[in-house]
Symmetry: D2
Subunit: 265 residues, 4 copies
Amino acid sequence: MLRVMVCGAGGKMGREVVKAVHADAELVMAGGIDPSQAGNDVGTVAGIESLHIPMAASLDEVLGENKPDVIVDFTSPAIIFENAKKILGAGVHIVIGTTGLSQEQRDELAAIGKANNANCLVAPNFSLGAVMMMKVSAELAQYFPNVEIIELHHNHKYDAPSGTAVLTAKLINEAKAAANVVATEDLTRESLPGARGAKVDDVTIHSVRLPGYVAHQEVIFGGYDEALVVRHDSLSRLSFMPGVVLACKKIVEHPGLTYGLEHYL
Amino acid sequence: MLRVMVCGAGGKMGREVVKAVHADAELVMAGGIDPSQAGNDVGTVAGIESLHIPMAASLDEVLGENKPDVIVDFTSPAIIFENAKKILGAGVHIVIGTTGLSQEQRDELAAIGKANNANCLVAPNFSLGAVMMMKVSAELAQYFPNVEIIELHHNHKYDAPSGTAVLTAKLINEAKAAANVVATEDLTRESLPGARGAKVDDVTIHSVRLPGYVAHQEVIFGGYDEALVVRHDSLSRLSFMPGVVLACKKIVEHPGLTYGLEHYL
Amino acid sequence: MLRVMVCGAGGKMGREVVKAVHADAELVMAGGIDPSQAGNDVGTVAGIESLHIPMAASLDEVLGENKPDVIVDFTSPAIIFENAKKILGAGVHIVIGTTGLSQEQRDELAAIGKANNANCLVAPNFSLGAVMMMKVSAELAQYFPNVEIIELHHNHKYDAPSGTAVLTAKLINEAKAAANVVATEDLTRESLPGARGAKVDDVTIHSVRLPGYVAHQEVIFGGYDEALVVRHDSLSRLSFMPGVVLACKKIVEHPGLTYGLEHYL
Amino acid sequence: MLRVMVCGAGGKMGREVVKAVHADAELVMAGGIDPSQAGNDVGTVAGIESLHIPMAASLDEVLGENKPDVIVDFTSPAIIFENAKKILGAGVHIVIGTTGLSQEQRDELAAIGKANNANCLVAPNFSLGAVMMMKVSAELAQYFPNVEIIELHHNHKYDAPSGTAVLTAKLINEAKAAANVVATEDLTRESLPGARGAKVDDVTIHSVRLPGYVAHQEVIFGGYDEALVVRHDSLSRLSFMPGVVLACKKIVEHPGLTYGLEHYL
């Protein structure tokens, strides 16, 4: 049984991680760190039964004798890097949910982890569905090189396109380059600017922003008198939890720093 | 029983109209005009059984004693206007499928028709599905003012957005103005230009161009934790035929010049 | 300004109604009834700021001198009928969200309301999107009599088909009967029982039950080389709130008992 | 350059194969067999330019000195088996499009092919899109074991569910068994029989039959607050051609009898 702790266990994401880890039969919820909830019960804070574990005020309190096997960190990008250095330095595996680490930072974490036999997973998206959508899209692009992406998000999301759409496009472009296939040339003339969307190399992205949506994406492949569509619908951040639980279980088998949950599947 | 003739009866659309009119129990296929097929049997040219009607070489041949009740004209915009003046001048109703007539030309046709008790329908789209999609979209926009349109066509279609998408957007904008409702302000920032599509006033349009598609459109309405989508799929120009047949039957009841098949529904 | 009270204001739906009414500029949140929260502040119970209104323990406390214009009741079918008789008897309009009232009960409520100049709305579904989906589906069925419904719900929903799907099918069948149109005869042979779904007269319903879904429905119309789809996606019960607020505002203009929110649109 | 011939080259499918093979830069259209068109030019019969190749009346005429590398056979199941025995017996590779061969027949063909160094591909579906839809669906089912299939076909298709839907379900069930995962138990109660579709073991299938559709399928995966959909749309039998061309090119590399185009991808 792997012992798991959660950084930021009093936050929105952190509380969900506590619940998901506790509910899993193969993992043990061993502790939480959150200065604003120090001393309160980790389970109670998460909205479940008492786990009889007081919340730690800092990482230093939990990296000693009773240190866990894995720590999950969904706190802010600003502090994740310092957290990760400490955690890996203590020989504890770490699962990180952020897109905010530079290549240099990831290289430094990889070195610390190697020196201490601790593994590290950094993933921008823990939704199994989103990860699998990207994986099969790259696979399909070899056979169907004409691809467009439609992503639909709530109009509270201010930027467009979404990070997931851009990442999907990049993976598709790489798969097409590897398979040495290209899309038919796009000869369309825009009579209204923007109609034909944004381009990431050979892939077109359209961003819909409407109330009533959460996070959705369609990858559309045009063929010869046929079409294929892969659609992913995410209803809430809860869709990240199965991916976090899976990451906690598999991290022990993946030495070094891994970028992207897809490498664990 | 209404007697119907077809201008350009040897062309791609014309042959389909001959077949559709002939197959309808309430209409009589009474003749065709096509100089390139003059003298050949109208039915044989259309690929059905012989109708024992030789193709006429010009309109003048059919507007005399045995003139029909209705003529359908899907020939090129360049000659439709001259055809229509002759046909209405002869007191024959005309069903016109083109987007290429100016307001002045339509006014002139209306005047000629009025003087000769002949009605005229001009419609850019005879697909019942497309017409109904536009009609219900305008209806829904009063309750759901946040709207985006995705239209998908074969990548042989060079312009974007499609005429149907622009017309749908206009009808939605008119319906919203009449109901005095507006969309939530669009605050999204494009990190890649074009991601947020094209704007027709308050409605956003995204144009997908991929092989494997024919003519498809989704009108998406965002609500409060809910969304509505109206989707139309057209597999071929054959989808125009029920609308053409309906127009032939109803034109006698609609005096004057009518613009858009929706007014016959 | 209309004064609104909420029966069951401490329940899941009730708290959302309190918030939605309070947030609306044309309505005044005037009180709540919930014996289990008697004396607590109605706003605090709902999770918003204090409204300085103590929760009433029973209807009798609020139907006196300071009685409201409208009461919203989403409590259990078992007690709604008794509540409604009291409320209408006191000359107060009532908005009821339940499918559990019989025709006899509705007739009795109508009579009480009439005698006391109080109006009553009974609606099984307050989602504007669902109501509009049904309305436009009935409209489209006149032109496209071949219709199938696919409804998708979470697999926690034990019955199939959903009440909304059955109601949609009934409205479509009525519209088709009124327009005197019928679907093409269904000649399909099932090689596996159940493949062709359930029948409500002339309309076929398919029920999907999968985790990851909330409440979704597609109404699919087949045409001549074309198809139309109306799709509704509901992400949560919050999608009922705009309909409840609209009902509170419009109920004063609709004398008698009205069944279905569509009559207010 | 591989030399290809087509059995039944005067039939609907055969003519399309002639055109597709002729249009490919790496294949040579070397001849056709069709007794009803014997002596006519193979290209003219297919509706393209003359290829200066007279149609053969029987297989015997083409399996001599100038025999081709590959023969494509989309004729009727009744004669395909006899054709295939002759073709493989002559040491010529054969691409067969039928679902009508038994295991015993396939075993016999495999033996003949082995003895004569000739390869054989038997595939029920040559659409790359359909094949890839099945492949990725099996892949996704390991991570999302709750699966339902909706297939939509024209109402001229009399049986339900479609062969492709049943095959997809079987491949999904096999993938789930191999991954040792099962769907959540289906507890739904049908208030109308058929609502919950047909079962192929652990996978539910719903069959929509409406005019306006050709051949479409959605495979829907339910997850934890998320869902994935793979959709395939086929607009015509032309969607088989890229798969047939690919099969002609790859058959030389695949010794023995192969069942299913997916093994060539």
